[in-house]
């Protein structure tokens, strides 16, 4: 089990909280809520060790488009990068709902 933290710049606050996903095999849970400052903060708890560079790549790409100031907690149970991106996009979509 590994815990990682990342910070990203943001341009605007997010309006409300969004929860998606499940800590199930090959899946993950995303808890997204308004950040206390003007940046985004990501905490990743993952069951698979040694993939920090991959996580950073996926998050870098997500935050190219996502500009909200959000605190994001990810509880991961061995999701592939594609699944991680889909869950992040699903959370972002939940903000527009």
């Amino acid at each position: 089990m590994e815990k990682m933290q990342y910070d990203y710049p943001a341009t605007h606050p997010v309006a409300h909280r969004v929860h998606v996903g499940v800590v199930g095999s090959g899946d993950l849970e995303v808890l997204l809520e308004p950040s206390s400052d003007e940046r985004s903060h990501v905490i990743v708890n993952t069951s698979v060790d040694g993939f920090g560079a991959t996580w950073k790549n996926v998050l870098d790409r997500f935050f190219l488009r996502f500009q909200g100031a959000a605190s994001i907690e990810i509880n991961d149970f061995g999701a592939t990068p594609g699944t991680v991106m889909l869950r992040l996009e699903q959370a972002a979509e939940g903000l527009r709902a």
């Binding site: 089990m1 909280r17 929860h19 499940v22 800590v23 199930g24 095999s25 899946d27 849970e29 808890l31 809520e33 708890n45 993952t46 069951s47 907690e73 509880n75 991961d76 149970f77």
Partner: protein, 290 residues
């Protein structure tokens, strides 16, 4: 309405909303009146297992149990649902305490003259082995709470599948005033894999799905009188049956209160010559359709 034969119309099949494919939170929303769901101790409260991370396992923020208040046809309701995708829907200290605590609060509501309808959506392998006795203690509290609450109001349980309901939580399901199952549901103390592992493949082949469902599947449990409603896998049908159950369930005493009746049923079985699933249906429930 006890046994509902699935309709074979393919358009109906395509239009139905699969309850089995829903996660716990979606199931709760599907059961309650539209727009009435208010989650209690949700994921952002982060009441999660303190024990799993110590064992190198990532914990889910709601510990795999979704609790919500809402309404059923306008009457206040409490729905608890177990998320089977997280740790097999297992009951740990926190997830078990969430269900037990909610049922105890519902009981207090009744004691103060405020009606609330309790619904349990099971999907669980039973106790979470990593939390051992703490999970078992929580399950015992759930049992006690169901018995206490049952004096005030029917407690309605649903097993939809595909995990089913096993271990101590199978007792909780059996204690419900009315139990709703689908054909895909399974209800039993030990799961097939556990039986195969402990007693050998000669005793039970856990890969033989037809055999397993013939023994512990929803259809067999209904036919032998251990479940009340056999429904197809459709959220609207299940939500309607839950509402109906509160109108009809109070009539008969709960199964777990009919000790002598079930002792008599057990005496009909000769362990040296155990019945096959089909003959158990006639042995235990002669009125049931064969």
């Amino acid at each position: 309405m006890s046994v509902t034969a699935p309709r074979l119309d393919y358009r109906h099949f395509l239009e139905r909303r699969s309850f089995i494919e829903m996660g716990a939170r979606e199931r709760v929303r599907a059961v309650l009146d539209a727009g009435s769901m208010r989650e209690l101790l949700g994921p952002f409260d982060r009441i999660k297992s303190p024990w799993l991370p110590l064992q190198g396992i990532v914990a889910q923020a709601d510990d795999g149990v979704v609790l919500a208040r809402g309404t059923l046809d306008g009457t206040p309701a409490l729905v608890a649902a177990i998320e089977s995708a997280y740790q097999g829907g297992s009951m740990g200290e926190v997830s078990g305490a969430k269900i037990a605590g909610a049922l105890e609060l519902a009981c207090k509501e009744w004691e103060q003259g405020r009606p609330i309808l309790p619904v349990l959506l099971f999907e669980t392998g039973g106790v979470r082995l990593q939390e051992a006795n703490l999970g078992l203690a929580a399950i015992a509290e759930i049992h006690a709470a169901i018995i206490a609450l049952r004096r005030h109001v029917p407690v309605v349980g649903v097993i939809a599948g595909m995990v089913g309901c096993f271990g101590g939580m199978s007792l909780a399901a059996a204690m419900c005033s009315r139990l709703i199952v689908t054909r895909q549901a399974r209800l039993g103390m030990n799961g097939p894999e556990v039986i195969e592992q402990e007693a050998g493949i000669e005793e039970l082949d856990a890969m033989d799905r037809a055999l397993i469902w013939s023994l512990i599947g929803g259809e067999q449990r209904r036919a032998t009188g251990l479940a009340d409603d056999l429904l197809e896998d459709d959220a609207n049908t299940i939500a309607a049956a839950i509402r109906q159950a509160f109108l009809t369930a109070a009539v008969a005493p709960a199964r777990s209160a009919q000790v002598e009746r079930y002792a008599e049923l057990l005496r009909r079985i000769d362990p040296k010559d155990p019945p096959d699933p089909q003959s158990l249906r006639t042995l235990w429930n002669p009125e049931a359709p064969a």
